[in-house]
């Protein structure tokens, strides 16, 4: 379960989030929709403790994130799979090594890793790019490696911050299908996007965000921001 309770995040004089309250139950699929600058990435950063809220409480599973100390953050972050908007692939590791890294952190054995990584690369259509470094991959390819890394260790929650931003229609549909599939198997998915097309095709809960405020929160929602 993830819960934001009257969360405000103030950067200098801009309020990136303003008194935001919502709750995501285990197994849910939630799209967070909003224009650029609405506060979507800020929500992601608060979930993994990359930023701290100015006010309010944030719960992720049994963790009260706003109270975690620096050395307690790694454990939280391993429980959540994050697809970062800017990918955040480790530049000195190949595609396969980036994915392995998440499994290592999850404490998996080497033989397991050797099995899972090629499967995952195959699933995101990058079997032939396993040994390429991030700077040898296109934006869309990097994004798919980031997605593979976020879900390979089967975390209870996957948070994807505009994971289709760099993909063409075909790859976008593939990624959305992938997210829906892991959600079917029980993973909680939080998807941030600014794409009407994406949101309307999913037909699940939608939280709309504008200027840091929640303007609507609907089951089976549609893209409502003008």
């Amino acid at each position: 379960m993830i819960a934001f309770n009257h969360v405000t995040k103030q950067y200098n004089n801009t309020a990136a989030l303003d008194d935001v309250t919502f709750k995501v139950n285990p197994g849910e699929f939630v799209s967070i929709v909003g224009k650029s600058g609405a506060g979507k990435s800020t929500i992601v950063k608060l979930i993994i403790g990359e930023e701290r809220p100015t006010h309010g409480r944030i719960l992720v599973g049994s963790n009260e994130v706003n109270k975690l100390k620096s050395d307690e953050l790694p454990r939280l972050r391993r429980e959540v799979g994050i697809v970062f908007q800017d990918f955040k692939l480790i530049p000195t590791k190949t595609a396969a090594e980036n994915i392995s890294f998440a499994l290592e952190l999850a404490g998996r054995q080497q033989h397991e890793i050797e099995n899972l990584v090629p499967q995952m690369l195959d699933m995101v259509g990058l079997a032939d790019k396993a040994d390429n470094f991030p700077n040898e991959l296109s934006g869309g390819e990097k994004q798919r490696v980031a997605i593979a890394r976020a879900m390979v260790h089967k975390p209870a929650v996957v948070v994807a911050d505009e994971p289709t931003g760099n993909l063409d229609d075909f790859n976008t549909q593939e990624i959305i299908k992938l997210l829906l599939k892991i959600n079917e198997f029980g993973t909680t998915v939080i998807l941030s996007t600014h794409s009407r097309h994406v949101v309307d095709s999913i037909n699940k809960r939608v939280i709309s965000l504008s200027d840091g405020k929640i303007i609507s929160d609907e089951e089976k929602g549609k893209y409502t921001i003008l």
Partner: protein, 302 residues
């Protein structure tokens, strides 16, 4: 646990190899630092041997009156040996004194013939006393003056060249202090340059450090490979700096022996090679790993 350690070591070696140029430059800088450290050890050895050789030439001789028996003299010798300031006491009998004297003046016709004419042995038995510290001769002299056997003593002489030797020893001491200070400052500078080189290398990896934190790596797991990296630098640089020092020592050693015949730099170097290597490795690995830890720390705050 074992897997984690194995992975940390694997990544340390991998970083080292993938950043070949950076590793080479860091090692080069570190070799310079270790080379300075080496000079410190060798310089210390040289000044120590020089001042020891000089101080060893200082002594006092206690001459006993004709009538004093050998047993009594030896007893005084025992008493002197028991003093904490005394390093060695040597007994020189009348006969030995004569032999030493005539050997020393074999070539001198006047003295030889004078001795012959004299017939007997005009020389006195003596105890030759060496102190542990040349500053303690005054103490030993005053002990003698206040002792019960003062009556048996004819005279106490400092070696004739004592003053000169003392001055020289002071010069060597001063040289040692100045030299060591200079070398320590150089070693500090070299260490700082090494630290900075390692820091720059890690600075260029800062993005990676932040990402690892964000995907849930613990600080230990992030830091580990860099420590391994630093240790590798230390090992390679330690061995290299000795490999470079060896021919220099072999070349310089004969020249130094010309000044100080008792001192052999190359014997010292090769005799203590394992110890020197140990110091180098320790210093190098410490410098490498501590620098890495400090440099990485600031990127783990995210």
């Amino acid at each position: 646990m074992a897997t984690t350690l194995a992975r940390i070591i694997k990544y340390g070696v991998q970083n080292f190899l993938r950043n070949g140029w950076l590793s080479a430059v860091t090692i080069l800088v570190m070799v310079l630092a270790l080379f300075v450290f080496n000079s410190l050890v060798i310089f210390n050895f040289l000044t120590d041997s020089a001042s020891f050789a000089l101080k060893d030439k200082i002594d006092i001789s206690v001459y006993f009156k004709e009538i004093t028996g050998e047993d009594d003299i030896l007893k005084v010798g025992k008493n002197l040996e028991a003093l904490p300031e005394v390093r060695a006491v040597e007994y020189i009998s009348k006969e030995n004194a004569l032999k030493i004297f005539s050997d020393a003046h074999k070539e001198d016709v006047v003295i030889s013939s004078a001795l012959e004419e004299l017939g007997g042995n005009p020389l006195l038995a003596s105890l030759n006393v060496k102190a542990k510290d040349p500053n303690d001769y005054d103490k030993i002299a005053s002990y003698l003056e206040n002792s019960s056997f003062f009556a048996a003593i004819e005279k106490v002489t400092y070696a004739q060249n004592q003053l000169v030797i003392n001055r020289l020893a002071q010069v060597v001491n001063a040289l040692e202090n100045v030299g060591i200070s200079v070398v320590i400052v150089l070693a500090l500078i070299a260490s700082l340059v090494t630290f900075n080189t390692i820091r720059l290398g890690i600075y260029s990896n800062r993005e990676e450090l932040g990402i690892m934190r964000l995907v849930g790596a613990s600080n230990k797991y992030i830091r580990g490979p860099y420590i391994v990296n630093g240790i590798l630098y230390g090992i390679i640089a330690g061995v290299l700096s000795l490999v470079i020092a060896a021919p220099i020592v072999s070349l310089a050693s004969p020249y130094l022996s010309a000044f100080m015949p008792d001192v052999s730099l190359s014997n010292y170097f090769y005799g203590n090679l394992s110890k020197l290597l140990g110091y180098q490795l320790m210093f190098g690995m410490l410098l490498g790993s501590v620098s890495s830890v400090i440099a990485v720390r600031r990127y783990l705050k995210i």
